[in-house]
Amino acid sequence: MRPHQDSLFHIGHLAIQMDRSGALYLPQHKIMIVADLHFEKATTLHEKRGSALPPFDSRDTLIRLQNIIKKYQPDQFICLGDTWHDSRGPSRMQREDRDILRNIITNCQTNFIIGNHDESILEVDGLSFYSEIIIDGVVFRHEPVENENLPQICGHLHPVAKVKLKGRVIRRRCFYLSKMQCVLPAMGALSGGLNCLDSIYKGFMSTEDRRVVILGRDRLYNLGVKSLLAD
């Protein structure tokens, strides 16, 4: 097993850089990848259930996006599904937020992948949605597929890692990776998380080289699966 000193890893020949914001960057292609933005989650929940959570989640998530773009200056962007929390999200988004998003899309070629939350959205600003994208033999899709022979990079599950260190329980968003798979953490401001030890991951994660990379305050932390706790 190769130790992982930094945030760069390879799947096949594809070099992948992890960012502490929860985004991935492909330096060979200048492509940025983010997952599960869940824009307009608060307003969706308001329409569906009448709750009144702070309607600032889209703005917060957009500012996170802007910061990553500023940092990496990518040529292209891939949103790995569940970009909107529901299909009416784009129409509910406030004008200022739409402007920020449009600005991002204009300056950087954006590719939307379909997620389960936004599967009935046909297009946004003239951009259509893909079910999956393949780069250098690696599949990028929203929901991981079992019995997949190709390496896959996906979102959907919102992985979080829980550890107990010197009596202190820490539960944080993380990348969950193995030799053939990488699950991105959710980037949406109001997105919850699913523990990496949940049985659902067992269906598709290979055991070889499995680890989590926890999002820290200023950097990422690599940890083995052995040290994780269930919820």
């Binding site: 097993m1 190769r2 130790p3 992982h4 000193q5 989650k41 307003t43 308001h46 329409e47 259930r49 009448g50 709750s51 009144a52 959570l53 702070p54 309607p55 600032f56 989640d57 703005r59 917060d60 406030q94 599950l157 919102h158 550890v163 260190l165 010197k166 009596g167 202190r168 820490i170 401001a189 109001l190 997105s191 919850g192 998380g193 699913l194 523990n195 949940d198 680890r211 926890i214 820290g216 305050r217 200023d218 932390y221 690599n222 940890l223 083995g224 040290s227 269930a230 919820d231």
Partner: protein
């Protein structure tokens, strides 16, 4: 606080002693005479007040016939009403903080009603009451309804509230001292204003144990917009001193722990020597433990039962009935039996663990010998050496009749939000009128209109300045200026979520049986409830202690935990309940400090306790009366700093926030802190003791009184104290829902943690009304900065520091204290970095 008619001498006063200037109706005086009893003067005085329409607060010790006094005006009035009319409204509303108390009172009311031959219908309504019965209660109200504050608010949110309460004559609030200082008390005080709008002429009667703040309770009962702002006060003095002993055990007291394991034989002996004992413990976990331990040595098979709030209702009722019938010798119980319940001839109260303040102790002791003129008998059982000091201090406090009840809570905006939504559910309100009504509540008399409007906005559209939820607002104002709920679903959700006590999600535990195919199916016998997170960590085959039985976890089925009976397991787990984790103040700090500082007084303590104090003197320092001891030592891979200011929990909590901030700035990476009334313990990644030894200025910098430049506000906003306060406010106000109708337990990925909501809200609308509510809540847990400054000034000249190689005898109780506060700073990052280094080293070695 009971009726205890049969066999009770509480009511037996020789007729000659009664000053009979208050007239009882013949029916009642005949009844008293027939029974050979006479009413107490305070019972007659209260009756007289009520007849004149005067609101009254009755403060009396247990056994003084307080409950009969409360009900007498109502019974007399009901006896005199015209026969044959079917009432459309409740006549009397009795409100108690405990479900069990309401049930107990129903049982005790039956006796005089039957014996006098009155035609009065009494019913109970609690969270346990089946839906069908609740519907009937509204359609055909009983004369007297016995209920809890939450149920009153629910009834007020009913569309028929005006009919139901239109003819209300009396409101009796029992155990007012326990309700009023809490958020439930605020909810109830708002409910009272609404009841007053429905039935302006009702008379309110408060029943209370002895308290420090009588005036506040008198004002609580009365509308603050009326001319007379105080209820009349009737006070009955305690006649005899209670007889309290501290248990001495053959086995030496342990240094730490709360199980009282070392004293079980003596506790059993005491139970055996008395007719009926109540064994009070502080947490449900302790209750399970003590119950199990007593049965292990119960050679004589004494009927000893267990009673706590997580047990199933049926089981609790069975135990309560058995106790009332005198079939039990002892009950191990938590606070569910803490307040005035009387189910039998209790002649001994055993208090296991710290007594938690003298007022609370006196109320517990009052449970024994409900005879006004005989001393109560109580036994204090310390579970560790520190608790032994507390018990000794409590004896002194009780002897001096020291009262330590807390001041009333006021102006909680989350509770107001809940109330406003409830009133809207009942059919709507005019904002101006509702504001006037709200400020007539004692708890809200200082509420300004601007705040009221902001809370109204919170309820209606979320209270967001930049973007309101107008389209699907919860409340809408009609052209008639009346605010109404926009949808029936809003009302339904309100009914599901009401309440001001925040509890973790509870899961039902049921017995299963093995079907023909070998699968486990739910059989139906409910054991009770355990907390969500305890259940989630169970693996099939795990055994745990519940309701005094060892059970084996089989599976989850339809959101229920299915268990089977297990053969005795060597080490069953014990469910932890967050209810039991709440830190409690003991208010005994000053007395404990005096005992420690005066070795002469140690002769009163068990030998191992005075040895332990001498040991502290040898290994570290025993602080003198004015000294402020600070110890540092490493323990289990962390570095501790333990401080002993003896300034009370509030001061220590605030000090914890300040010191962790300063340690963070000094790059010592604090991880968390915990405090009690005597001191606080902070732990960190870096060696604080070494840092102080290298540079003595570090300590004086840490404890400097000048707080300019500490940026404490920002640090506090990040703290676990604020995050917890926000979560509570968000739930009470209805921002986060406890449960939705028919919704299954969700997967974790769908749950939005209140922390995420808090962070977003703080970033985009720092002046949101819920953040204001959370800050006000957090302030209840802390001192304001001026007072903290005074504390630091007082301490600064007397600091003595000791850097130790390992923990000191005195520190043990401190670092094991419950209610830890996490620090969100560099310390956690350092832990993660260490863990990563370990992982990489391991990966590297396997790579070689």
């Amino acid at each position: 606080m009971c009726l205890t008619f049969p066999n009770s001498r509480a009511l037996l006063f020789p007729m000659s002693r009664v000053q009979n200037f208050y007239q009882l109706p013949e029916l009642f005086s005949d009844w008293f005479q027939r029974r050979g009893w006479a009413p107490h003067p305070h019972q007659l005085e209260l009756l007289n007040n009520a007849r004149e329409g005067e609101h009254t607060l009755l403060i009396a010790p247990t056994g003084a016939g307080k409950t009969l006094a409360g009900f007498l005006p109502s019974l007399v009035d009901l006896a005199g009403r015209q026969r044959g009319l079917v009432p459309q409204s409740l006549h009397t509303l009795y409100i108690s903080p405990l479900k069990a108390l309401a049930v107990d009172i129903e049982r005790n009311l039956e006796f005089p009603i039957k014996d006098i031959g009155l035609d009065i219908r009494v019913e109970t309504r609690t969270g346990d009451t089946p839906q069908s019965k609740r519907v009937k209660q509204v359609q055909r109200p009983p004369d007297i309804l016995l209920t809890t504050p939450e149920q009153v608010s629910l009834l007020l949110a009913h569309r028929d509230a005006n009919k139901l309460f239109g003819d209300l004559k009396f409101i009796i609030i029992d155990e007012l001292h326990a309700i009023a200082p809490t958020k439930r008390g605020e909810l109830l005080s708002l409910a009272l204003t609404r009841l007053c709008a429905h039935a302006p002429t009702f008379v309110s009667i408060g029943l209370s144990a002895t308290v420090r703040n009588k005036d506040e309770l008198c004002a609580y009962l009365v509308s603050q917009s009326s001319s007379n702002k105080f209820a009349k006060l009737i006070e009955v003095e305690e006649r005899v001193k209670p007889n309290i002993r501290i248990l001495t055990s053959e086995t030496r007291l342990p240094l730490a722990g709360h199980t009282a394991f070392s004293s079980m034989v003596e506790i059993y002996g005491a139970i055996n020597a008395h007719k009926m004992s109540l064994v009070f413990v502080n947490t449900r976990m302790q209750a399970e433990f003590v119950f199990q331990a007593l049965w292990k040595i119960n050679d004589q098979g004494l009927p000893i039962a267990l009673h706590h709030g997580s047990l199933d209702r049926e089981q609790r009722r069975k135990i309560e009935a058995a106790m009332a019938n005198g079939k039990l010798r002892a009950i191990v119980c938590t606070a569910t039996l803490d307040l005035g319940i009387d189910w039998g001839d209790v002649d001994l109260v055993i208090n296991v663990g710290a007594p938690k303040g003298s007022s609370r102790l006196m109320q517990r002791i009052g449970r024994s010998n409900h005879r006004f003129d005989e001393p109560s008998v109580a036994l204090l059982v310390p579970a560790n050496r520190f608790e032994s000091l507390e018990c000794q201090a409590a004896l002194g406090a009780v002897a001096d009749k020291e009262q330590d009840t807390s001041a009333l809570r006021t102006l909680s905006l989350d509770v107001l939000a809940q109330h406003i939504l409830g009133i809207a559910c009942a059919g709507g309100f005019n904002a101006d009128a509702l504001y006037q009504e709200v400020i007539s509540a004692y708890a809200y008399r200082h509420l300004d209109r601007e705040r009221f409007d902001r809370v109204l906005d919170l309820v209606a559209t979320g209270g967001y300045a930049l973007r309101a939820y107008d389209n699907f607002a919860r409340l809408k104002k009609g052209s008639d200026d009346i605010w109404r709920v926009s949808h029936d679903k809003v009302a339904l959700r309100y009914r599901m979520n009401i309440g001001t006590i925040i509890e973790s999600t509870m899961i039902t535990v049921k017995f299963g049986y093995r079907s023909g195919s070998g699968q486990i199916r739910a059989s139906g016998r409910k054991l009770g409830q355990i907390e969500d997170y305890f259940a989630e960590n169970l693996v099939p085959g795990d055994t745990f202690l519940f309701g005094g039985e060892v059970v084996k976890f089989e599976s989850f089925q339809r959101n229920e935990v299915i268990v089977s009976r297990a053969s005795q397991s060597s080490s069953p787990k014990i469910p932890v309940y967050s209810g039991g984790r709440l830190p409690l103040s003991t208010y005994l700090a000053k007395r404990v400090r005096e005992i420690i500082a005066q070795p002469k007084s140690w002769t009163l303590l068990p030998l191992e306790v005075s040895e332990w104090l001498s040991w502290q003197k040898d290994k570290s320092i025993l602080p003198k009366k004015d000294q402020f001891l600070v110890e540092c030592f490493p323990e289990r891979g962390k570095f501790y700093m333990v401080l002993y200011p003896f300034e009370g929990r509030l001061a220590h909590q605030t000090l914890g926030v300040l010191l962790t901030k300063r340690l963070e700035r000094l790059d010592l990476k604090p991880l968390g802190f915990v405090c009690n009334d005597y001191g606080l313990a902070i732990w960190a990644v870096e060696d604080m003791g070494a840092a102080i030894e290298q540079n003595p200025h570090v300590l004086s910098k840490l404890l400097a009184e000048d707080m300019l430049g500490d940026d404490l506000e920002a640090w506090l906003e990040e703290s676990s104290i604020m995050r917890r306060a926000f979560r509570n406010c968000a739930i009470i106000s209805g921002l986060i829902e406890k449960q939705l109708p028919g919704e299954r337990r969700k997967t974790r990925s769908l749950i939005i943690s209140s922390d995420l909501i808090y962070d977003v809200l703080r970033r985009y609308q720092p002046d949101h009304v819920l953040l204001e509510a959370a800050r006000a809540d957090a302030a209840y847990e802390m001192l304001d900065l001026t007072r903290l400054n005074e504390t630091l000034k007082r301490l600064s000249g007397n600091i003595i520091f000791k850097n130790l190689e390992k923990l000191s005898p005195l520190s043990i109780a401190m670092i094991l204290e419950i209610g830890r506060e996490a620090v969100y700073g560099e310390g956690v990052e350092a832990l993660l970095a260490e863990a990563e280094a370990d992982y990489l080293a391991e990966a590297l070695s396997s790579f070689k």
